[in-house]
Subunit: 438 residues, 2 copies
């Protein structure tokens, strides 16, 4: 085998991964993890809030006393024990036996990411269309791009996905002679936008999808992390058919275990298990035992409250700092749960072009472009508040505000053709169909 032939292969494959933004964000995280940088770029839970000594004791027993089971192979669907516990967790959000949720139709996955990848593997062929909120989860874009599918974004506002825009988008896709395979949506405490689909809109979105024969893939990693009362019931709690429900223990327990799940329509459950077996044989037996034992023996509902308290305080710190420090013309969402705020910069500023200056000023964020498949989002950024402490959050916003003031001063001196990337922003439609999230 010559290097050339291998490179030929690589080039062939390169088509499949073109535009994948995962690596770009990986590079960003590497820089953002330097200790002198205040990183508002991450999406990590605050693991230090867990009772780590007790978790350690639990893990010791799983190895020493149950090792011949927990360190052994398991089955592709996941252990029945964990699937039963997952049903208890879902019941807390209103997805219970009454709406057809059953351990039989749960498939355990390697985090929420693999849950989505398995659904994509089932349904997507190259060239297929997927509808998704704009902006949407960067890891979902990675899945859809790997599947060579085309993402068409549907705008949001402060009340989440706009039903009229969804209808219009479905119609536009149909006019182009195609049909979307499914709607991918994070209705609650959306990543990255931090908005929540209202109760009334949930029903309308479901009706629209039902009329259009469009499957719904509901991703709900944050639904149990609400600060201001409970979130509206998940889409899956409202409809038995046509909704895949995806979630994970990454935000409510620990992401390092990589345990997520799919509650699948019964008709496709077996196909998902076979796809799971082909992909990873079985999810980690040890990680599953860790999660199910955590849910069985430790006060996980209390831990949810602790996470909520920590994140509420940090969200408040971020919102207060933004209100106090950001220059006029900056707007942002006000999340009622989850981990993220979506900020939009004063007219003419470019969050992606500004990144190097922000890093030099020792603050990091994720530019909005990472959350769109179509190059939109240059005027926006995602800010995370779950990981940094409140005083660090304020310091980060202070640094960010300074960078923004400098960018705006530059713009006043050099005009729209300056080095701020504002020229791109000036092009009509460059940021369309950007959501009205102010």
């Amino acid at each position: 085998m010559t290097g050339t032939t291998l490179d030929d292969y690589t080039d062939r494959y390169a088509r499949r991964v073109r535009g994948m933004t995962a690596s770009e964000i990986r590079a960003l995280f590497a820089v953002a993890s330097r200790p002198e940088v205040v990183s508002l770029a991450g999406g990590a839970p605050y693991i230090a809030a867990l009772p780590l000594d007790a978790v350690g004791e639990m893990l010791a027993k799983l190895g020493a006393e149950q090792g011949t089971t927990t360190l052994q192979y398991g089955i592709g669907q996941g252990t029945l024990d964990l699937r039963e516990r997952i049903c208890e967790v879902m019941a807390l959000s209103g997805i219970d036996a009454g709406c057809g949720a059953s351990p039989e139709d749960v498939v355990v996955t390697v985090g929420g990411q693999q849950a989505l990848d398995l659904v994509a593997r089932l349904f997507l062929d190259p060239g297929d269309v997927v509808l998704a909120e704009g902006p949407t989860y960067v890891g979902a874009l990675g899945v859809f791009q790997a599947a060579q599918a085309q993402v068409v974004h549907v705008p949001m506002d402060d009340d989440g996905l706009v039903p009229e825009a969804l209808e219009a988008t479905i119609a536009a896709v149909a006019r182009s002679g195609r049909r979307a395979k499914f709607l991918y949506t994070i209705p609650t405490y959306q990543n990255p936008a931090g908005v929540t689909l209202t109760d009334e809109r949930r029903e309308r979105v479901l009706d629209i999808c039902e009329r259009a024969g469009l499957l719904v893939v509901e991703d709900d990693p944050y639904g149990q992390l609400g600060f201001d009362g409970d979130a509206p019931a998940p889409l899956r709690a409202r409809r038995r058919h046509g909704v895949f429900y995806l979630s994970t223990f990454s935000k409510t327990f620990a992401p390092g275990l990589r345990v997520g799940w799919i509650l699948a329509p019964h008709a496709v459950r077996d196909k998902l298990v076979i796809a799971n077996e082909a992909q990873v044989l079985c999810p980690s037996t040890f990680a599953q035992a860790a999660v199910s034992t955590y849910l069985a023996t430790m006060p996980w509902r209390e831990q949810l409250k602790i996470y909520r308290e920590v994140y509420r305080e940090r969200r408040d710190a971020l919102l207060d700092a933004l209100a106090d420090l950001m220059p006029e013309g900056t707007t942002w969402t006000e999340p009622q749960g989850g981990l993220f705020v979506w900020a939009t910069l004063p007219d003419g500023l470019d969050a992606k072009a500004m990144m190097p200056r922000a890093i030099a000023a020792r603050v990091a964020y994720v530019p909005g472009t990472g959350f769109y498949a179509d190059g939109s989002g240059r005027a926006s950024m995602r800010l995370n508040y779950s990981f940094p402490a409140p005083d660090r959050i304020r310091e980060g916003v202070r640094r960010l505000a300074t960078v923004l003031e400098q960018e705006m001063a530059m713009r006043r001196v050099f005009g729209a053709v300056g080095g701020t990337g504002a020229g791109r922003r000036g092009r009509p439609g460059a940021d369309a169909p950007g959501p009205d999230l102010a």
Copy 2:
């Protein structure tokens, strides 16, 4: 969304998973796991041979003292710490810095299964041809079928893959106007055949692939589990270019953690990381820490010796029992390492058709058909000796021999048209191109 539409989707996908044997084997394992059944059907390591108390202590510390790292997100390539340890493990097999192995080119995966799935995702398009030993690993068939690729088997004999047959197969594929994407091979202590590619043939196989411009995907889960001296050096130790090396800690430490790896040609390393991120975001940080701490602080080389001793004793028990008890005309391989013996039944018997009678006699195996993409293998079965104790192995073979004697008696009474499935065996080519593994 109506149930019908969802079923339409399911039917569409059903094309992709047709013929997948994973579920069939899953059903078999469910039956085989009943305590009264002696299961020679599995492939599980003997986890009870691990120092579970010490492993438990290690896991406790990873949670209690390092939880803020080990329970947190990691990076898609896997931790540098583990990748360095993996290079130490590979060096034991002769894959060292001298042949270009480096932590930079290692990608950590969710077991060896995901390693193979990632390679398939990089290279395979629907309709592509993959060459693989006949018989081959059932999980590899699952990956290739999910990728909608066509597997063309290359026969083996007691010395492993037959080089002349490989050349002939490459030529036959070329004559059909296609080109194989890669050769998937398990050269050492092959699953399921239990044979090992000789030193001299390794060079010939590599030369043939190099001349044909054919990538080699070398799967080596068992290479360090040799009983009678060391195995010949892996293919990757002999060639820097054109060989993907895949392995796992599932057989040398514990499968329940799901930690495997790929040593990738440098040119595609980044693509694999991006594909890994799209699929699972990152491998479990906790599982990686468990493996790297195990390798750093526990006597893993001694543990390898313990596994080897246990399996050597069990292999001997199986081979002795087969020699003592099996009816004339039965043949089997004599593995020098690994977990499996491949047995071929007296002329006219059908291992798949016989399964229900074997289960009724409280013994289980995997029929040979599970290891072929083309329906071959009816006359053969895979027997596992790593998990059952020696006396259970002997008892299992005794039961199996009784079933065989009954089948043969039935055949003598009713002839080839009897209910033993022998009629199928009688069709010309029904078992071709079955390997000569006697």
